[in-house]
Amino acid sequence: MKFSLTWLKDYLETTASVAEICDALNAIGLEVEGVEDPAEKLAGFRIAHVLTAARHPDADKLQVLTVDTGEGEPLQVVCGAPNARAGMKGVLGLPGAVVPANGMVLRKSAIRGVESNGMMCSVRELELGEDHDGIIELPDDAPVGTSFADYHGVDPVIEVAVTPNRPDCMGIHGIARDLAAKGLGTLRPIAMPAFSASGACPVEIRTDDPEGCPAFYGRVITGVTNGASPDWLQARLKSAGQRSISLLVDLTNYLMLGFGRPAHVYDLAKLSGAVVARRARDGEQVLALNEKTYTLDAEMVVIADEVQVHDIAGIMGGEHSSVTEATTDVLLEIAYFNPARIGATGRKLGLSSDARTRFERGVDPEFLDDGLDLLTGLIVELAGGTPSEVVRAGSPPSAPKVIAFDPGLTTRLGGVDVPEGEQKRILESLGFAVAADWPKNPNVTCPLRRHDIEGPADLVEEVVRIYGLDKVASVALPRAEGVARPTATPQQKLERGLRRAAAASGLNEAITWSFLPEWAAEHFASGNEPPWVLANPISEDMKAMRPSLLPGLLMAAKRNADRGAAASRLFEIGRRYFRAGNGLSDEKPTLGIVLAGEKTPRGWQGGKAKSFDAFDAKALALQLLEAAGAPVANLMVMGEAGAQFHPGQSATLRLGPKVVLARFGIVHPATLKAFDVDAPVAAVELFLDAIPTKKGAVFARPGFTPPALQAVTRDFAFLVPQGLAAGDLVRAVQGADKAAITGVRVFDVFAGLPGKQGGVPEGKVSIALEVTLQPGEASFKDAELKAIAEKVVAAAAKLGGELRG
């Protein structure tokens, strides 16, 4: 809502300054979004008296003036206006002033060799109108030297944000009422116009839809003259940010802006028969005032005559019966529409208007007659014509809400003590009727315009916002005794720990969009489940919910590469989104890692740059799973990392054959191509919901004393069939003597050179293991070591491994 100070003062008698008014508006919940003070724009422009005017020696169309500015010597000013002449009074812009219309800073200058010390201004240059035929001519009594802003009477414009619960403040009068309650002045009584109505309304008015349009009042005015609005009206509308259209339209807007009361004026000549509020018929169409055609349905209320729809009720009038310059007879409509239905209609049509904004929030049901009379009076005064009596169809809601309100609630809920008398004063000044013996009789009756008031808490809000939220003192929350208790859940601790572990491993945490382009989501879909796509995405790139964290990170890595980054080490902890069986979502906490580009740059030590490989991914996966408390020692390395991974260089880490804790490996070249990424990329995804939580963990660790005897190591090299997973061999050897063997480490893998000295036969691989044996109470005897070695060899043999000679 924008309004000028002058307009506000029509309704509010006040001596408060603009600053005081703005402070009060903010304090009572009408947030000031801006103040435009034309006085600032007109700084440096003052009233001047032209003493002499002579032809410019070198220019036909210019004159050289001497101008009295009210102080000091008269100034010489060059002027091109044809009406500039000796003796006139006008407006002079002094050097340093900024011309409002074009932002030009005035300077002392020479125009065609003649010094000029300022500029005599036109109406347009000062943004006071369109006239640019000559400079402003002021009356003879204009005081020379006075600031033009002061003389002209500047009118600051205040813009406030009205919250949707306060349609009563979508008119300046309502704002004035709130300010008066705050003590900023006195609300003036509304000046009802005097006019005489004659004769019954010649048009039949009905509401055939009392639910959608409970009340429809009308009146005909004959013999009006529509045309341009007077300057004061145009200025008012301009201050409120409205364009002047024609007198009749402007007056309905004036009523709407002044009192929050939309109305409509029909050209009577375009109407035929009864004018009825009814539901639209499915498919019925109307060409609205915005020159668009809308197709309506039976959920929407319209105003129609016997031939066609003339108005999308409460939202926008129709083009056909809109008033024009030729209009002489009009039908005024003031109605009350069901707010919910107006909102639904507006949303369905995608049509916004000032009227809709007010109707869907709820206009004042008690202001139909007064509104109609105010509009009638204005029309009769400014456009002439003869009004008929009012015709009323239906009636607006009239049962006020009565709320039992205990003044103590203000303290209990609002945290501030407000004396009962002050509470009563505040409520009454806002139009609430407080019982005479309140609070003994707790009843407070709400004005019908306050659709937002539902219960006593709303009345607390009214009291507190007017009394002053600044008077609410801070009160400490009751505090539990002792040191604050830990609050984090196991899942939260897991995520926090993982995040810092990942960052400590040299990864940068990114946050990427939860939505992806549909193709990217499809590419990473698991199984046949189609991507979960938004009904109203903001763009094609943000359309489908991500089934994996990798596509978002891949796209980030690509952007980084495009910017010249040699490497991206990115991770993200977030959710993957799936449809759950119950129709809702299944959001799975996940950690994704993308390692793209160079693992190590070319260097004086290492030579060529190295790319990331699948073991970099594996190392991170295991390290982070360990940080997450997963039983890493028990994990199995299995396949099926997914089609987005290199089939031969990727794996899953599982706890048992079914529970997949992670997948990792080199990203499939086809995936890289789809995401337009050049370098090889390694990736990891940890499925945090699959990591088992430790149950019943205690602070004390299991008992442990470092063994007194030193461990011994023995090396074994086995020829195993090609294709045997080294992990299986390690696991088998580990199990050969669980008491003695505490570690098995692969230290060499070799294949090739069949038939040669030291070579490995075709179809075989040599895997060398270092086995750590930990003696218990006594050192191993040779016979024991021999027995363990035999068990190791036997375990390897079960997998087809033979000890290499």
Partner: protein, 366 residues
């Protein structure tokens, strides 16, 4: 006697003159070896009578000791010289670069979420979470925004074509407030929670992204009022910005889920082109900045969440995490938060060891 003396002197001179361990060994053999002259001289003692032996022995023993000491000293000197020479050969140019270790970082949003959790834990708040894909009942209806409520339309909601089995619309949550409902339904009252997380609005320009982060706060108990809300926010901001001069201004506002509703402004000043939180907004050089919405939980919301409004009341607030992160740590472009630019992450991200703690201060200084 002079013979031994002169031989000793000659041997000492020879030892002193050796330039290598091998030459030194030769000298040792010459004097102290099995056939060395000292060893031979020692052997002669066996053939002497006691008087002769007493007279001759000290000189020979002394020569042996002197030469042995000289050999030892020379050996040490030669070894030291050899080591020195070897070390000199091993000299490397340490101005050459070492292998760089990649430096990881924690995203500012995560860091601030950890800070929030730490501060609010001290005030007795647990961290609650809820689904980001919500139904319209939790996101709107239970928050006192029925289907026809104009505020619904103002939320720029992303919808899915799906419906729940109950026929509810499925959408991306537009705020973290549905977590209020879920938490109260799950654990009832009294309750103190914060709920940080991703939220979504169909809005995109220089200062808005379709996804952003919010933190919801909820306190429901007996006798909780607006004064507690003010204290809680003040206390939080003082702890978060680690300054005592935080001044909040509460302004009446409107949210369907609170009554009374309060907009929260914080005083700030401009320093070096940046907004610095602190001071009274009306003080010279200062202004107010909107920082969040809040209010007393609407009785209808409590009813929807199966909490008896006759017994319990409370407050709720919502803050933009990205915004307070920007205010505290000086980022000026929200869009960069979600770009994954390695340079930005390295610059604005945090060390993994900047884990917020109350004892060290929750913030991490640059």
């Amino acid at each position: 006697m002079t013979d031994i003396t002169s031989q000793t002197e000659a041997a000492l001179a020879a030892i002193a003159a050796t330039a290598s361990l091998d030459a030194l060994e030769a000298e040792r053999l010459e004097a102290l070896g099995k056939k060395g002259w000292v060893s031979l001289a020692l052997k002669t003692l066996g053939g002497m009578n006691p008087e002769e032996r007493t007279a001759a022995a000290p000189a020979i023993q002394s020569a042996r000791a002197t030469i042995a000491d000289a050999l030892e000293a020379k050996k040490a000197a030669l070894e030291a010289a050899a080591l020195e020479e070897q070390l000199a050969r091993e000299t490397i140019d340490l101005s050459l670069p070492a292998m760089p270790a990649p430096k990881g970082s924690v995203h500012p949003v995560s860091q601030v979420m950890d800070e929030l959790a730490e501060i609010f834990a001290d005030l007795g708040f647990a961290v609650a979470t809820g689904p980001e894909i919500e139904d319209d009942w939790h996101n709107f209806t239970a928050l006192n925004m029925d289907e026809t409520h104009p505020a619904r339309a103002m939320h720029d909601t992303f919808y899915f074509p799906d419906r729940t089995p109950e026929g509810r619309e499925i959408l991306l949550r537009t705020h973290t407030s549905p977590v209020q409902i879920r938490s109260m339904l799950a654990q009832g009252a009294p309750i103190r929670i914060i709920a940080p997380g991703r939220v979504y609005r169909s809005d995109s320009d220089a200062t808005h992204t379709p996804m952003f982060h919010q933190v919801e706060g909820l306190v429901v108990g007996k006798g909780i009022h607006l004064g507690h809300l003010k204290w809680t926010l003040e206390t939080f901001f003082k702890a978060f910005f680690e300054r005592e001069d935080i001044v909040l201004r509460l302004r009446p506002s409107y949210f369907p889920f609170t009554e009374p509703s309060v907009e929260v402004d914080v005083g700030y000043s401009n320093e070096g082109g940046r907004r610095v939180v602190g001071g009274h907004g009306d003080a010279p050089g200062h202004a107010w900045m909107e920082i969040g919405g809040s209010g007393m939980v609407n009785a209808r919301v409590l009813e929807f969440a199966k909490v008896d409004p006759a017994e319990y009341q409370g407050f709720a607030f919502g803050l933009g995490i990205d915004r307070i992160a920007m205010l505290k740590y000086g980022m000026n472009d929200l869009r960069a938060f979600f770009d994954g630019d390695g340079r930005w992450l390295a610059h604005y991200g945090f060390s993994p060891f900047d884990q917020p703690t109350l004892s060290a201060g929750v913030g991490a200084r640059a």
